[in-house]
């Protein structure tokens, strides 16, 4: 059984169905890339995995480290070791990055973290992500630039040390240096504690720094094609149109299995 197992996931909002049967397995130590055109449902999947209240699961299940978490509260999923770096991180006015991190870390522990230990961990995360020391005393995401928000997400990931992290377009809006730093942050967590990752992206560039073993293409709320890195190259070459023609909405059930290669 995989660490994160998504089975036949159907998800809807009040108005319409967004995910229409997603299957995906992610183990620790694995890097998966999830690609797909705008509006195909990537962020919906990411948010649903963390239990966002806007999304109703009508069918299927999610299990994490052997526990069914389909109905679990978001904070329980986080405590279990799931992490989402948001595509659009939310500003929390009046709460400093450092204070927020301390609260998040303490939420996972029985005893609150010691000041000294916290300071050391924060410093090493700061070094790793190459951010300014003053960064952590600023209010979380409040007035942050796009790039700063993304770095703050990875800083949180580095501090919270999840077992599986979902990075929702963390690469968008990052210059190449920032991108490299972020990639290094992910790699380090992988090397140190075997974190698994699901990297949602539109671009090949991040995948140069973090090599995915598995690539999944989502179209219209389904994963229609799966493979290795070669899929990314094919995508760069052909674009989604070709894939849409082959696996578009008129194609039903069978489409899912035709791309089978991983999972």
């Amino acid at each position: 059984m995989a660490d994160l197992e998504i089975r036949n996931l159907h998800v809807r909002t009040e108005d319409h169905e967004i995910l229409r049967g997603v299957d995906l397995n992610i183990d620790r130590n694995e890097v998966h890339a999830l690609m797909g055109p705008n509006g195909s449902g990537k962020s919906t999947l990411a948010n649903t995995l963390l239990g966002h209240p806007d999304y109703e699961i009508t069918e299927g299940s999610i299990s994490f480290k052997g526990q069914d978490i389909t109905e679990a509260e978001p904070h329980e999923r986080a405590k279990a070791g799931l992490f989402l770096a948001f595509q659009y991180p939310v500003a929390i006015p009046g709460v400093s990055v450092a204070n927020f991190l301390r609260m998040a870390i303490n939420a996972k522990r029985e005893e609150p973290i010691r000041v000294k230990e916290f300071g050391q961990e924060l410093q090493s995360a700061i070094d790793l992500l190459d951010v300014d020391r003053t960064f952590t005393s600023r209010h979380l995401n409040d007035g942050f630039s796009g790039g700063e928000k993304k770095r703050a997400e990875i800083l949180q990931m580095a501090m919270l040390k999840p077992d599986v992290a979902i990075l929702d377009e963390t690469d968008s809006g990052l210059d190449i240096d920032a991108l490299r730093t972020v990639a290094e942050g992910v790699s380090k967590l992988q090397a140190e504690q075997g974190m698994g990752a699901l990297i949602i992206t539109h671009y090949q560039r991040i995948l140069h720094y973090i090599q995915p073993q598995f690539v999944h293409i989502m179209l219209n709320g389904r994963i229609v094609l799966e493979g290795g890195v070669e899929l990314v190259e094919r995508l760069e070459r052909e674009g989604y149109d070709e894939i849409r023609r082959q696996y578009g909405s008129e194609v039903t059930a069978g489409a899912n299995s035709s791309g089978e290669s991983s999972a």
């Binding site: 966002h52 904070h75 009046g94 927020f100 939420a107 209010h139 949180q156």
Partner: protein
């Protein structure tokens, strides 16, 4: 107020000078050369001639004090001695310049650092000041406070006992706060608290007022009058922590701070509880160069009702003002805030700004905020802004996804909402106390907040 001098004011029963209610006092003090005894007599006349007030801000709110059974209350006196438990329990232990505690109708505790006494600082009951410091008293008492706007104001002026007097001599700088405490320990009490603070030329000090009550059943009243005069170049930071607890405490108070030339005041009332609280708060620049930061926060819960009228008054220019209030409401509570910027004809080169931000945390809670600007000078800038907010569900989910449970996430948002003001307090003891009280209120309203979130 010459027409009131003899106490023969014509006020029909049940009718009040509503038009005056949301008006600046504007220096219209009652003193006018009269002795304390004459003022008490005049106030008694007003008291006898008026009913308890009902104030209507048409279309917005009604503040009705007639549910108070004033006849059932009395002024209770105590011998000096132990400080009430609610005082020692609530106020953080820390270095202080001094402390004066009034329990019900009497001052029961006074302490002052001896080095300050040697420098001429005076901290005593206002009753004692009236006798022992006659000149200071006569020059300041009721200089900018009235006695005839409503029955409770008159009651205070007529019946006050105990009271607080603080005088900081010229050039004296005091780091640690003077603590002024009003405590009500049981039901049935009428507390007519009266404070006079004088910061002489170029003095610099802090005052922390605590208004506290035990959680008793039944009614009590605090009708307060507070005046603070900062002479040329004086600087003061004034913070007020008000939490009257869960008893049926009515608080109807008027507070005025007046700034002379180049004086500065940072004023932050934290209004954190009371059955029915009406506050007229007025910060006035009376001479050129005065500068003020007028902050405030409130949090109402259960069936509490809060009515704040905050005035940023500029009688002369150049002067500066900056008014920034934040408030939240849970339960079925109602908070009404009116903020007035008033710039008089002579107050050229005044720059001021008023902002009020509020949060409604449950379906039946209501916060009304009315900012208004009355400008009679042309070379000035005065504007206002504000927001009315609800809990941001995306922010809550964001925090939950980091491991915080929902109540913690809500608490973080609310603390964050108040944080700009708590930071400005520049006092970790006070900020910690306010945070603790807010956390307690959020915990108490937890279900309420949940249902509200689910209903949206």
């Amino acid at each position: 107020m010459p027409e009131n001098a003899d106490g023969n004011i014509q006020v029909k029963a049940g009718r009040h000078r509503e038009a005056d209610l949301y008006k600046a006092l504007h220096g219209a003090g009652a003193a006018d050369g009269r002795t304390l005894e004459q003022l008490r007599q005049a106030a008694l006349g007003v008291y006898d001639a008026t009913e308890l007030p009902v104030w209507r801000r048409s279309g917005f709110w009604t503040t009705n004090l007639q549910t108070l059974d004033l006849d059932a209350l009395d002024v209770r006196h105590h011998e000096p001695g132990e400080q009430p438990a609610v005082v020692t329990r609530t106020i953080p232990e820390r270095a202080r310049a001094g402390r004066i505690v009034q329990q019900d109708g009497s001052v029961v505790h006074i302490e002052l650092q001896s080095s300050l006494a040697e420098q001429g600082v005076i901290l005593c009951s206002l009753q004692d000041a009236a006798e022992q410091h006659q000149q200071l008293f006569a020059e300041h008492y009721s200089k900018r406070l009235t006695i005839d706007r409503n029955k409770l104001e008159a009651a205070n002026a007529a019946f006050w006992s105990g009271g607080v007097f603080l005088y900081v001599p010229p050039g004296v700088v005091v780091e640690d706060p003077f603590e002024v405490v009003y405590a009500i320990c049981e039901q049935g009490v009428a507390q007519y608290g009266r404070t006079l603070v004088i910061g002489d030329r170029a003095s610099d000090f802090r005052v922390h007022e605590y208004d506290l009550a035990e959680n008793f059943e039944g009614q009590s009243l605090h009708a307060g009058a507070f005046e603070m005069y900062l002479h040329d170049g004086a600087r003061a930071r004034l913070a007020q922590i008000q939490d009257w607890g869960s008893g049926e405490v009515y608080d109807c108070s008027t507070r005025v701070v007046a700034l002379a030339r180049d004086a500065y005041c940072h004023w932050l009332p934290a209004l954190l509880g009371g059955h029915l609280v009406r506050q007229h708060l007025e910060l006035a620049v009376t001479e050129p160069g005065g500068d003020m930061a007028f902050r405030g926060l409130f949090f109402t819960e259960a069936r509490e009702l809060l009515d704040v009228f905050a005035v940023d008054l500029h009688e002369t220019g150049p002067s500066g003002g900056d008014v920034h209030w934040r408030g939240a409401a849970t339960g079925q509570s109602r908070a009404s805030f009116e903020g007035l910027i008033q710039i008089d004809p002579g107050a050229q080169k005044t720059h001021t700004y008023l902002q009020i931000h509020s949060m409604m945390l449950s379906p039946k809670a209501r916060v009304d905020a009315i900012p208004s600007v009355l400008v009679s000078a042309d070379d000035v800038s005065a504007s206002h802004g504000g927001t009315v907010g609800e809990l941001d569900e995306t922010a809550i989910f964001y925090m939950q996804s980091r491991g915080l449970d929902r109540p913690s996430a809500v608490r973080v948002i609310i603390e964050g909402f108040f944080e700009p003001l708590l930071t400005e307090l520049a006092d970790e003891h006070l900020a910690g106390l306010v945070r603790e009280k807010i956390a307690g209120k959020l915990a108490a309203a937890r279900e309420d907040i949940e249902t509200y979130a689910a209903s949206r």
